[in-house]
């Protein structure tokens, strides 16, 4: 069976890419340190594959065809879209995939009971995937199975569905006959706004939400998080806060146990999330 060697949640704020260069600005030193710390955690865990749960930002997916959850099952993937090279300076890259693991999660001839994923044979990873990969695996030498979630185009799946996704990922991997060391990494935001009146405040638009979010993770209070994370509560915390839901998938993928690291790291973009569930 596969072994889950690390579950983690990290930020993907793309404006960090041009800023985290020496000399690193004072307010971003802790963010850089946490990326370093999580890169070391991942290196220590020695995964054969990363299952990466992230949200496409209308780059590959549009509302002409918008799945709730989609898995990429290609052997190789493009990373970074042209607008993101312009806006964020992210490099165009190629990322290895792991179709065998993708198939375990997706199903072979029929979709698995209880989860109807869409799939892509030509996934093209946007900054939500690329920023975590560039910081955590700079050589891009660990195969990736991308799990796309729709957190950006309402109607979005419910918080409970994100928990079910995490439970399903965990169960399907642990029950598989594949011998792989798997890291499950999710990425998203705490309270965050862009394209609205509370963007770029220099601080979090909703520190109370961020504090609760860290408590839910640190204490393994997934059910409380599901109850709290209504659409209205999330948009009230900032119009892109829906991406927090990817971390509920991480919590469930870790079996719902308390995180070993649960930090909201303050910087100019608000509080950046760093969550980890080290191996059981």
């Amino acid at each position: 069976m596969a072994e889950i060697v690390l579950t983690a949640g990290v930020p993907h704020t793309p404006l960090l890419w041009r800023l985290l260069r020496e000399p690193i600005p004072d307010d971003l030193v802790s963010v850089a340190s946490n990326y370093d710390r999580f890169r070391e955690l991942l290196a220590t865990a020695r995964p054969d594959v990363i299952v990466l749960v992230a949200s496409d930002h209308f780059r590959q997916l549009a509302t002409s065809n918008m799945p709730a959850f989609m898995i990429g099952k290609a052997e190789e993937m493009r990373g970074t879209h042209p607008n993101e090279e312009r806006a964020f300076g992210l490099p165009f890259v190629t990322v290895p995939g792991d179709p065998e693991v993708a198939r375990v999660v997706l199903g072979h001839h029929q979709l698995p009971a209880g989860f109807d994923f869409a799939f892509s044979d030509e996934p093209w990873l946007d900054h939500a995937f690329m920023v975590p990969l560039l910081y955590l695996t700079p050589q891009l030498d660990v195969p990736v199975v991308p799990v796309y979630t729709n957190t950006n185009a309402p109607p979005i799946p419910s918080a409970r569905r994100f928990v079910e996704l995490g439970t399903y990922l965990r169960t399907s991997l642990l029950q598989s006959s594949l011998r792989r060391r798997v890291a499950i990494i999710g990425t998203g935001h705490l309270a965050f706004e862009l394209g609205g009146p509370r963007q770029f405040l220099g601080t979090s638009p909703d520190p109370e939400f961020d504090g609760l979010a860290c408590e839910w993770m640190a204490e393994g209070r997934g059910e409380e998080a599901v109850e709290a994370c209504s659409f209205e509560r999330l948009v009230g915390a900032g119009n892109l806060t829906f991406q927090f839901l990817n971390f509920l998938t991480c919590l469930a993928a870790a079996g719902g146990r308390p995180a070993t690291i649960a930090e909201a790291t303050p910087c100019r973009f608000g509080n950046e999330p760093f969550f980890a569930w080290e191996a059981e």
Partner: protein, 113 residues
């Protein structure tokens, strides 16, 4: 109001440097070309679309406040206005301040798709 078409157009403008440049160079011509493209759809990913008069005017005027009120997706809207306003017309900081001031009174319009 078609949030779908508004969002689709924002994505298609911002997608490439060339499309951003063409929109900035001659916005009216860009919009006419975009709407004309929809008359000859190429499935399964047809380009182009159609806009209401209000939407067309908001794009023609680079009026981000109006697009915000119309329910343009906030993520796409911010990246579009950043692509077309910066650096020739405003710095990012100036644009962000102007954007926030313009949309503040409108709270969060429904941007469900």
């Amino acid at each position: 109001m078609s949030r779908y078409m508004v969002n689709k157009l924002m994505v298609e403008i911002d997608r490439h440097d060339e499309s951003v440049a063409a929109f900035k160079r001659d916005t009216t011509a860009f919009l006419e070309s975009w709407e004309a493209a929809a008359l000859s759809p190429d499935p399964p990913y047809p380009v182009g679309g159609s806009l209401t008069p209000d939407e067309r005017k908001a794009f023609a005027d680079w009026d981000f406040e109006k697009l915000y009120v119309l329910g343009a997706h906030p993520y796409l809207l911010w990246h579009l206005v950043r692509a077309i306003y910066v650096p020739e017309r405003l710095t990012v900081e100036e644009l962000s301040d102007a954007f926030k001031a313009a949309v503040a009174e409108h709270d969060w319009p429904d941007f469900s798709t």
